[in-house]
């Protein structure tokens, strides 16, 4: 990205007018160089190292290692915990993406043009996005505490029996998803608010004149379609962030009870830093990166299609 935007203008002006001269070529490389080096060091080199590690039986701290080809991947494919972990991650991601996108949109619609207090609410809802999730996880741990937690206390008022949310196989993953939604919806809200302010008000006037009978009809006719690019962006970003879930799992459930909250990055962490199977952890990391790549490419394709449709 950076590389292209730096070099492209220079290329075009030179190619368009006259043959490229050696000192200009050197200058171009000089300009691109720092950014390219940084990208290489920060992104490309570690990626290559991880891919390479995933093809070995290296163990953290070990002196010797062997090249094992795709054995790590084959092991993973036959490991029920790994599949469990993928399924849990996907489930968590679907819940959090749907929840945070929906809640973010709802809150944005409610806050849009809602008077003097709107900025205050906006700030409050955005706070979780900026907060450290590990710190917040501890707060949530207290809130969800089976004996003195706020959640059980409030539910007790309406007659719901107290539960051990994080240690119950049926509620642990949903509880983590709720925390994920709580953390992410502010981000979606801010993007939706920006998107909403970009919709020309004359379209709502037109919808009104055209006889849209209800707020819902106007939403379907104007708001939802015009927000589509923002929605796509929100979904992609929150998908990627949901796949990266780790802090809450690590702080609250450690993958339990009975592996119901085992998620991809937590499995990777456990393989790498608890069982010291670095090669296998690297293989999980590669799978993870590939999944992210698929999400990103899907978005690019969708955007392309939209541009061509216009």
């Amino acid at each position: 990205m950076t590389e292209m935007s730096v070099s492209a203008p220079a290329d075009r002006s030179i190619a368009g007018e006259r043959p490229r001269r050696p000192h200009e070529e050197r200058a171009a490389w000089g300009l691109v160089g720092p950014a390219a080096t940084l990208i290489g060091l920060i992104l490309v080199v570690p990626l290559i190292v991880v891919v390479a590690l995933s093809l070995t039986d290296y163990q953290l701290g070990a002196k010797a290692w062997r090249f094992v080809g795709f054995a790590n991947y084959a092991d993973l494919a036959g490991d029920p915990v790994f599949w469990r972990s993928i399924a849990n991650t996907a489930l968590y991601a679907v819940a959090v993406v749907a929840g945070s996108t929906g809640l973010g949109l709802a809150v944005a619609l409610a806050l849009q043009g809602s008077g003097a207090l709107a900025p205050v609410w906006r700030t409050i809802f955005f706070l979780p996005v900026m907060a450290s999730l590990v710190a917040m996880a501890i707060v949530w741990e207290f809130m969800l505490h089976p004996t003195f937690g706020l959640v059980n206390a409030v539910l007790g008022l309406v007659g719901v029996a107290p539960m051990n949310w994080l240690q119950n196989g049926a509620t642990a993953l949903p509880a983590l998803a709720v925390i994920g939604v709580w953390q992410q919806f502010g981000f979606a809200m801010v993007l939706f608010l920006a998107g909403l302010s970009g919709i020309p008000t004359s379209l709502y006037d037109a919808a009104e004149m055209d006889g849209a009978p209800s707020a819902w009809a106007r939403f379907r006719l104007v708001t939802w379609p015009l927000l589509a690019p923002v929605t796509l962006f929100v979904v992609v970003i929150s998908t990627i962030r949901s796949f990266q879930v780790f802090d809450t799992v690590h702080a609250l459930t450690k993958g339990g009870p009975n592996k119901v909250t085992e998620v991809l990055l937590y499995t990777m962490y456990a393989e790498g830093f608890e069982f010291f199977r670095t090669g296998r952890a690297a293989a999980i990391a590669v799978v993870f990166v590939a999944a992210m790549l698929v999400v990103t490419l899907t978005k690019v394709l969708l955007v392309e299609k939209r541009i061509h449709a216009r």
């Binding site: 004149m209 849209a212 009978p213 379609p225």
Partner: protein
Amino acid sequence: MARIEIDGIEKRFGRTPVLRGIDLDVAAGEFLSLVGPSGCGKSTLLRIVAGLTREDRGAIRLAGEDVDHLAARDRDLAMVFQNYALYPHLTVAENIAVPLVMRRLTTAQRLPLVGRHLSGSRAAHAAIAADVARVAETLGIAALANRRPGELSGGQRQRIALGRAMVRRPKAFLMDEPLSNLDAKLRVEMRSEIASLHRRLETTFVYVTHDQAEAMTMSDRIAVMMDGAVLQVGTPDAVYADPDDLRVAEFVGSPKINVITADAALAAALGVDATRAPDPDGLRLAFRTEAVRLVDPTGAALAGRVVHLENFGSDLMVHLAVAAAVPIVVRRDPHDPRPRIGETWGLSIRPDRLLVFDAAGRRLRSVVGRGA
């Protein structure tokens, strides 16, 4: 086709009064233009008629019925917006269909995919498609049916917006500067197209513009607005030749009407009986560029030096510096002998075309009426 009665409409935004008691009566089937300088409240008035903005005081009646309690969608009016307000994600045909889809189909029938298979839905959809095709045909945009607004030129978008308004048979059309985003040539073309549309549809049109030429060429009647008040309502001829107020005279007509400030002596020399005016020395005399001739300066009541010539091909505008600060403009046939810059000419104003106003700009008809 419906009569629109606008009765004592007042509106303020915050503390600023924007409309100060507007009364207008638009006859059924009439083409009425609201014209006035930017910010005088035209759009606000139109939006109040449409029901998009609520008035502070006054009433709107459509076809004799009070509609103040009705939301915009229930008033059965169509509006064309200055920026077209087309739905960017819908095709041309879908855009035009929206008013029918919203009014003829139930919420369930409007659902994507499933909606079409509900009972009665197929026939309703087919009827809508037929109506849309008919309108697209009329406006010559049938070939664009499957394109999106983003792929169209300004003139084409304008037509789509008209199509969306026409596809239903509304009680009246409200148009807010629909041509202001088009280039000059296209604007002239669309002017006659909208006028012929009005003749064909035989519906009431209320047309907002700040371009007096549009108002003059298209309307049955013009309402000239300024500072939130209607100064004069009348046919284009009446507003042009017989204005009630100096501001109307100055706003309507291009080039601008000539205005000179005259004391009693000059007024008398031009045939105005200033003694009957309340303030004989503060008169403002106005005359159109075609109501004045160049004559021999000797003995003329008013004379000036030629400072500028503008040749439009069909007309030659001669600008003369007289005592007044603003030069006087005289319209001449370019084929007549041309005056040269620097020459001094006398001015002879047709007395029946001389308009007299008092210092505040109110017309003084008793001093010299038309044809006096």
